[in-house]
Amino acid sequence: MEVFAVTIFMSLAFAVLFAVLFLGERARRKHHSLEQDALLPLDDASPARRGPDSGFFTQRHDQYHHRKDHDRVR
């Protein structure tokens, strides 16, 4: 039974510690550390997507690929 109480206690203690650290981290964001800025180049929060370029060169490029595909079909 004591083991059960210790387990509960430890789990709660860890949960509270986690909550405190989490909130602390949140608060630190407002007073952020300088070194956090070093992460900016790696800050790809949302996954990057790549879409086709619709510029002049791309059109030429697309035409080229289209012609290649066309040739291949023939």
Partner: protein
Amino acid sequence: MTSTTTAKTTIEFDDRTVRRFMIASIFWGIVGMLAGVFIASQLNFHQLNLASWLSFGRLRPLHTNAVIFAFVGNMMFAGIYYSTQRLCKARTASDLLSSIHFWGWQLIIVAAAITLPLGLTRGQEYAELIWPVNIAVAVIWVVFAVNFFWTLARRNEPSLYVALWFYIGTIITVAMLYIVNHLSIPTSWTHSYTIFAGVQNGLVQWWYGHNAVAFFLTTPILGIMYYFLPKAAERPVYSYRLSIVHFWSLVFIYIWAGPHHLLNTALPKWLQMLGTFFSLMLWVPSWGGMLNGLLTLRGAWDKLRTDPVVKFFIAAVTFYGMATFEGPLLSIPAVNALSHYSDWTIGHVHAGAMGWKGFMAAGMFYWLTPRLYGTKLHSTSWANFHFWIGTVGILVYVGSMWVSGIMQGLMLNATTPDGTALVYPNFIDTLTSIRAMMGFRIIGGSLYLAGMLLMALNIWMTIRKGSPVNETREVAVIERSQRDTMGLKEAFLNDPVACTLGGMVLVLAWLFLPPGADVVALVCAGVFIFLVVRRFQKGHHIWSRWHDSLLHNWLPFTVLSFVAVVLGGLVQIIPTVMVSRAKNVEDRIQQPYTPLELAGRDIYVSEGCYNCHSQMIRTMLPDVLRYGDYSRLGESIYDHPYQWGSKRTGPDLAREGGKYPHSWHYDHMKDPRAISAGSNMPAYPHLFTAKFDQKTLWKKVAVMTRLGVPYPAMTATEVKTAAIEQGIQIVKELEGQGRVGTLPDTQIVALIAYLQKLGKFDVPDLEGRLKGTPAGMPFPLRPGIPDEHRAATPAK
């Protein structure tokens, strides 16, 4: 990162501009390096000077301009456009400005590629382009600046990452340097005279030239390093705090170091000492930056074995460290006495250009291409092969230039034990001894070029495999009120700014005030610094908070960066430019050029003779024994532009006038080997048929007069007549020496007239001049001119 988000939006980055600049960089890089291998070959095989427009003197500026402005310039723009958008989480402000920037820059490069081989030049290193192109460069640079700062103002990330600081430093400093150094008065659409002459021109030129290396070839590449190296290593930069120290100390110190290009010359000693002092200080920030780059790879060194991008980056940063160690070393006067004018300097700049910039470019392109074309790199093994062939090429090139420079420098400076004669009095002997090294130079350059060609092929195959794609990303939009909120008072009226400027003022007072007062200023500076340190220890958090805020506000940051870079230039240039000409001569004053001699001088400049010949006899025994009495400030006082030079592939010409008869120069220009067996100088047959410029000669004289050269009042006809009459006189003398058939209006006649004038001077009325000078040296001229360290004894 500190913002509270209000909304999210999806942005599409403008990657087309990045692709364009990248491809342009590779193309122009190959052109520039091809020109480099070709001119290196010309040094060994004079026969390769195939035509007037393919001669060494005209192609060498093409090589340097192509590599600096076309290869590194386009590479820098590619890196800046790519990283700025990501770091600002915003698309570039204006696609139109991006397009104008790209096409404008390429047009400028094409204009340079046409005008330089035609001999249209301003005659100053890395500042050769003619005035209409200068204006185009300034306009396009402003377009780039507007686009960049506009993007910063629209950013969705409050913090300005370190890479952006370096880009800001680059943009404002290059604009300042370029505009000041290119101030000229046009004489025609393709010709102008710089407003600076002699020592002033030398000082301004190397303030520009040295900082072109610093702010065009280094700071943007450091910005690129701070963005792309962490991306490639997949870990943040080693120390962000170190990067702050790196940035501020680098931009502040670099700008002062220009005079180290003029050590042991007629440049006043106090400026030479400043140049040396600040160059030595540069060791610290440069190595701080290098270590920050190298240690970014902590825990990921295994990538060096597998990832060619990391290989290129790490080798590039290592070359940066080597080059920035060597630079201060070469700025020590004793070392410079050996290295200056020799191939050692050439080796030094190529270690920086090929190792640092070239490898950073390669690493960045290999990293970018798959992302810009949505595919994989065509061949990693080709990239690896490029790395090794490039590395071997650099080592062969740089190693041979070290050997060549040190060997020739030692030979040129060698004197007999009693110090009264030269061991190798014949310049050609020293040139012959480095022939093998000049051969290795071609091999090293060719290997490097082969690597570039392989990269071009690899990237071309990658492009064919993929298709152009623009990255889109969802970002949190931040409100205007969440960035750039720093007020004027908060930005500038605070402890850090006041203490830094106060310290600077006191140190400058020590430098400039008359004896007695300078000691007081020094003591005050010491006390002030002590108090500042105490104050900082108590309230360092205030300083930190202020700097943190600065990093969220682009405008105050830009203004303070500008103040940091402008100080060094002001302190060095203003006293030198403000000093009157009468005080600027020591004991000799140059005789103004006659109209024909002026025309000849323009031909000398146009043919790029300054690329191989100096006109500055240094205050060193071997120089004086070899070339004659050391050069005085007053002996180039009317030289717009100055022609002191920076390399002696041939001997110095400062006292060439009257040394040989006209026929010697006539034969020498026709076939240098007929006079000096073993010479590698090109022949100039076209000078014997081409006419010198009579049409705009009067205008050139008028502009010179406007610049302060004491010409008598002359009409256009009088100018022309004076030139032709002197030409007839020279032709007569040539005929007397057995060289018949030359016309008096040919370029060779004008060039002979100029060469025979070199070193001709008058003795100024020293006593009268000193009478007009108030007792003591008033503020702010005390450290100026005449230089107390040079014995200005009246010439006999």
